[in-house]
C-alpha cells in the first residue's frame, strides 16, 4: 500500500507520456496504410475518416503495374543486396583485423569513423559524379553499389568491432595450437561465434541501402535503373498522381524497412554505448 502510493504519480505520468508518444509515433504509419486502401473519391470527400469504407487494391495496382514500380523494386533489391553482401564481407575482415592485429588502432579508428561520418553526402556526391563519368559508371547499378560502400563499410566496421570483441582470444589460440592457420581460425571459429552480430549488421546495412536517396537521385537518371525512393519522389510530378497511389508506393518502401528493423531492434540499443565510448 505504502509502496504503491510512493511510485504512484511518476508511474502514472510515465504511462500517459508513453501512450501519447506511442500514438504520435504510430499514427503516420497507420494513416499511410489506411490511405493506401482508400479510393481517391473517398479520400477527398472525407479527409478525417480513419478506416476506408470500401477497401480497394486499386492504388497498389496503379503503382505496381501502370507506373511500373516492379522495375524499381527489382533495382532496389539488387542494389541493396549487393551492397549488403560486399559491405558485410569487407567489414567482417576489417573488424576482425582491427581487433586481433591492430588493437592499438581501435581508438584511432573510432575517431576516423566519426570524422568520415561528418562528410556531408552532398559534398561527396560531386566527386563521385565526376569519377563515375570517367569510369563510365554513371547511370548503372554497379556504380551505385560502389558508392554505397562509402556509408555502409565504416558503419558496419564500427558495429562489428563491438561484436568481434566478445570472442575470447583463448579459443583462437587453442585452435592455432591444434594446427589451424589464421584464415581457418577466422572462418571456422570466429565467424560462427559472431554470426548473430553479423546478421544484424547485414540487416542494418540492407536497410540503409534500401532507404538511400541522394546518391540514387543524382547518380542514376534513367527511370528503369532507379531505386524505389527516387521513383516515389518522381511520382510527385506525374499527372496521374493521387495521394492514395502515393501512400501505396510509400507503403511498399516502408514495410520491408520496418520488418527488418523489428528483427534487429534489440541489437541496436546499447551498441552505441559499447562501441563508441571506449
Amino acid at each position: 500500500m505504502k509502496k504503491l502510493k510512493k511510485i504512484g504519480p511518476s508511474t502514472v505520468f510515465s504511462y500517459v507520456f508513453l501512450t501519447v508518444l506511442a500514438i504520435v509515433c504510430v499514427f503516420p504509419l497507420l494513416w499511410l496504410l489506411v490511405s493506401a486502401f482508400k479510393s481517391s473519391n473517398e479520400m477527398l470527400a472525407n479527409p478525417t475518416a480513419f478506416l476506408p469504407k470500401d477497401w480497394t487494391w486499386e492504388n497498389f495496382k496503379t503503382v505496381l503495374f501502370t507506373l511500373k514500380f516492379t522495375v524499381n523494386i527489382k533495382n532496389s533489391v539488387i542494389v541493396a543486396l549487393w551492397t549488403t553482401v560486399i559491405a558485410t564481407f569487407i567489414s567482417c575482415l576489417a573488424a576482425y583485423g582491427i581487433i586481433r592485429f591492430f588493437p592499438k588502432l581501435g581508438n584511432i579508428m573510432t575517431r576516423i569513423l566519426i570524422t568520415t561520418y561528418m562528410f556531408p553526402s552532398i559534398m561527396l556526391v560531386i566527386p563521385y559524379a565526376v569519377v563515375m563519368k570517367t569510369l563510365g559508371l554513371t547511370n548503372t547499378r554497379v556504380g551505385l553499389v560502389l558508392v554505397y560502400m562509402s556509408f555502409s563499410v565504416p558503419y558496419a566496421v564500427w558495429m562489428l568491432v563491438g561484436f568481434f570483441k566478445t570472442v575470447p582470444i583463448g579459443i583462437e589460440e587453442a585452435a592455432r595450437i591444434d594446427g589451424a592457420n589464421r584464415l581457418m581460425v577466422f572462418t571456422k571459429i570466429v565467424l560462427p561465434l559472431v554470426r548473430p552480430g553479423i546478421v544484424s549488421t547485414a540487416i542494418y546495412v540492407f536497410i540503409n541501402a534500401w532507404n538511400e536517396f541522394l546518391y540514387a537521385l543524382l547518380l542514376v537518371s534513367s527511370s528503369d535503373k532507379t531505386t524505389l525512393s527516387v521513383a516515389v519522389k518522381t511520382l510527385e510530378g506525374a499527372d496521374i498522381l493521387n495521394w492514395g497511389s502515393m501512400m501505396a508506393a510509400s507503403a511498399i518502401v516502408v514495410l520491408p524497412s520496418i520488418f527488418f528493423f523489428c528483427l534487429i531492434q534489440n541489437k541496436l540499443a546499447g551498441g552505441l554505448a559499447d562501441g563508441a565510448v571506449k
Binding site: 507520456f17 576489417a94 583485423g97 556531408p120 553526402s121 565504416p154 516502408v254 527488418f260
Partner: protein, 307 residues
C-alpha cells in the same frame, strides 16, 4: 632444447602474419581512401577552381569561390536556417527521447515496456521518402488530416498551410525531424540507464536523498557521456541532412527552408557551379569539425571527471 628451430619458426611466422593482417584490413582501407579521402581531396581542389558540371576543363581561380560565397546573401540565409534546423531538431529530439527513456524506465510491467518500446521505435525505421510523403499527406493544405481536424475542432479558422507558410515551414520540418529522431535517443538513453547499478539508488534513498538529488548525482553522471555522444552524432546527421527537406519543400517557399545542403545542391547541380558548391561544402565541413572538436572537449572532460 630446439632453440634454433623455434627461433626460425618464430621469424617465419611473424613475417607471414604481417602479410595476412594487412589482407584483413586492406579492402576496408581501400573503401575509406577511394570513397572518402579521395573525394574530400578533390572537393578541396575543386573549391579553388572554376569547374562546372558541363565542361571537363577548369582552371585555378584561388579564393574567388570562397569570396563569392561570403558575399552571397542566400548563403547567410541558408546558414542561419541550418543553425535553426539543427538546434531546434536536436534539442527537441533529446528532450522527447530523454523523457521517453526515463518514463520507459519507470514502467515495471514487462509487457507494457516492450509494447511501448516497439511502438515508439517505428519512426526510426521510416525511410526518408516515406517520412516525407506521409507527413506531406497528413499536413496537406487541402485534404490533410491535421489541418482538417484543426478546423473541425474549431481550433483554427482556416486550413493551416504548414509547408507554404514561410513562418510555419521551419517549425513543421523540425517537428517532423523530432518525430523521426527521438526514438533513437530514447532507445540509447534507455540502454544507458540499464547500466546504472541499482544499489546506488538504494544507498542514496537510505541516506535520505530526494528523487531529484539521486537523479542529479547518480543518473546524470552515469549517462551523460552516452547522451553527449548521441548529441554529437545527431548534430552532425541533422546538420548534413538533405533528404527530408529536399523531399518535403525543396527549400521553399522562397528559400525559407533552404539549409546548407540544399544551398550546395542548388549551386552545384541546378546551377552547375561545381567550384562554388565545393567551396560551400568545405566551409560546412570546417564548421562541423570545429563544432565536433568542441563537443569532444566537453565529453572528454566528463570522462576524466568520472574516473
Amino acid at each position: 632444447m630446439k632453440q634454433p628451430d623455434r627461433l626460425s619458426g618464430r621469424t617465419y611466422r611473424t613475417r607471414r602474419i604481417d602479410v595476412t593482417r594487412w589482407i584483413f584490413v586492406a579492402p576496408a582501407m581501400a573503401v575509406v581512401i577511394c570513397l572518402l579521402i579521395y573525394p574530400l581531396c578533390s572537393t578541396v581542389l575543386y573549391s579553388f577552381t572554376n569547374k562546372t558540371m558541363i565542361k571537363d576543363t577548369f582552371k585555378i581561380v584561388g579564393l574567388k569561390n570562397y569570396i563569392d560565397i561570403l558575399k552571397d546573401e542566400s548563403f547567410y540565409k541558408a546558414f542561419g536556417n541550418t543553425l535553426k534546423w539543427t538546434v531546434g531538431s536536436v534539442l527537441g529530439q533529446v528532450l522527447v527521447g530523454f523523457t521517453g527513456a526515463i518514463c520507459l524506465n519507470q514502467v515495471k510491467n514487462a509487457w507494457a515496456k516492450s509494447t511501448f518500446r516497439i511502438l515508439c521505435i517505428i519512426p526510426w525505421a521510416f525511410p526518408a521518402i516515406a517520412t516525407a510523403m506521409v507527413w506531406k499527406w497528413i499536413l496537406n493544405g487541402i485534404y490533410g488530416f491535421l489541418p482538417t481536424m484543426l478546423v473541425d475542432l474549431g481550433i483554427t479558422e482556416q486550413m493551416l498551410q504548414f509547408f507554404s507558410d514561410k513562418n510555419l515551414v521551419m517549425p513543421t520540418l523540425m517537428g517532423i525531424n523530432i518525430w523521426f529522431g527521438a526514438p533513437l535517443i530514447m532507445v540509447n538513453v534507455y540502454a544507458a540507464l540499464q547500466t546504472i547499478p541499482q544499489d546506488q539508488y538504494e544507498a542514496a534513498q537510505i541516506d535520505g536523498a530526494s528523487k531529484f538529488q539521486s537523479f542529479r548525482h547518480i543518473t546524470v553522471p552515469h549517462i551523460r557521456t552516452v547522451v553527449g555522444l548521441l548529441i554529437v552524432l545527431r548534430t552532425v546527421w541533422v546538420f548534413n541532412n538533405f533528404d527530408i527537406i529536399y523531399m518535403i519543400t525543396g527549400g521553399g517557399p522562397a528559400g525559407a527552408s533552404t539549409t546548407m545542403p540544399i544551398f550546395i545542391y542548388d549551386t552545384g547541380w541546378t546551377g552547375r557551379l561545381v567550384g562554388k558548391a565545393s567551396a560551400a561544402s568545405i566551409m560546412l565541413l570546417i564548421f562541423l569539425v570545429i563544432l565536433t572538436v568542441l563537443y569532444f572537449k566537453v565529453i572528454n572532460h566528463w570522462e576524466k571527471e568520472d574516473r
